[in-house]
Symmetry: C2
Subunit: 226 residues, 2 copies
């Protein structure tokens, strides 16, 4: 069990949504954690698990994936705590899976209970995390419910870009994408075949005469938008 180190991205995330005084951040540095390295498709949590530790994502991407139909209901970026809710309700309703290689810090529930009792600021920030997650879920619903598939994929990419930027990543509006086309398809509720065609549309768009030319950008996603 190491101390320190893992808190950094989480601190970025928390300060991006709330003002935190110095000593709150100091509390975070005491975060005890066990680091886990995962390969693409690895299960971080299974639906049947009843974890006693939270997952703080340090590097890479995780997603919640429905075990029945494979629908991805959220994608998480570094600094996120995808299973924060398990602090209150230990039951899971889906699998937590790595999209591409990922590094996760496992932090005992007790630590979060401790800091919420010690600092009202951190307590507030953590509750905000949960509320923002819910807001993201509503956005996800709007995305699936009221946009055509091309716009869906575009919005997803933009959302990820912005969330990366909130923790100091994707500074130049681009990020290396470990996502397969099937991943994007499960997230946007389209078929893998159709995802492929859409991504080709993007590439075509990007290499239009008005734009600079660049090599085939399937695995390397550029640009953010509104």
């Amino acid at each position: 069990m190491q101390k320190g180190f893992a808190f950094s991205k989480l601190a970025d995330r928390l300060t991006s949504i709330a003002e935190l005084p110095e000593n709150d951040l100091e509390l975070l540095t005491r975060m005890p954690s066990t680091i886990g390295h995962f390969a693409s498709r690895d299960h971080i949590l299974r639906k049947t698990d009843q974890p006693s530790r939270c997952c703080v994502l340090l590097q890479g991407y995780l997603c919640w994936k429905d075990d029945n139909d494979g629908q991805i209901t959220s994608i998480h970026v570094p600094g996120d705590i995808p299973d924060l809710h398990a602090l209150i309700a230990p039951r899971l309703e889906a699998h937590l899976i790595a999209l591409g290689p990922a590094v996760v810090a496992f932090v005992p529930h007790g630590f979060f209970q401790e800091i919420t009792s010690l600092s009202s600021g951190l307590s507030h920030a953590l509750r905000l995390l949960g509320i923002i997650d819910a807001a993201c879920l509503r956005n996800w619903i709007v995305n699936l419910g009221s946009r055509d598939s091309l716009t869906r994929v575009a919005h997803l990419i933009c959302e990820i870009t912005m969330r990366l930027q909130a923790v100091g990543l994707a500074r130049d509006d681009r990020f290396a994408s470990p996502f397969t086309q099937s991943d994007l398809a499960s997230a946007c509720a389209i078929s893998a075949v159709h995802a492929n065609r859409i991504i080709q549309d993007f590439s075509a768009e990007l290499s239009e005469p008005t734009r600079t030319n660049w090599d085939s950008p399937t695995r390397d996603i550029r640009r953010g938008c509104s």
Copy 2:
């Protein structure tokens, strides 16, 4: 500002998700509230509002509706507090609208802050409410993302049935539906025309030879399922 009375459905809801001792329920009876009656389509909260009171739904149905595209992201039944999150984050991202006539108890944020500080049981139950809401949103995503439109509508109806039953309504697996076909359409992300055809499919299914015959059940929804 009346006391008592409005707490009853909320108490049903809370006890359906958590064990609450007598004195916690006693605390709830002290809930101060202002009662509001609304007609179908009335706005209970607008996106621009920054409410200082929570909405406890007493009768009827409310929904969160995206103001851009009209997508409904959740439907709420009596006992729900659709804007509980506004306790922590006052900003709204959608309109809260009545589906059919509805009765709402407005309860000052201060009351909830008070009872959460007085009772850890109530505090826990209220946080569970938020987490369950999030779980419902994920279900909603799965519904839109991975089922055909007929199944979507069926699941929506079943979900509402079960949530009604959690607060002692729809005991016989049926409930009077104030929803228009357009409402169901916005909730399930299909066109109103298609919603109409689907509902006719249901009616046809119900009046099949193997089944008892009943009159056209457009506005009166029977049955719940898995």
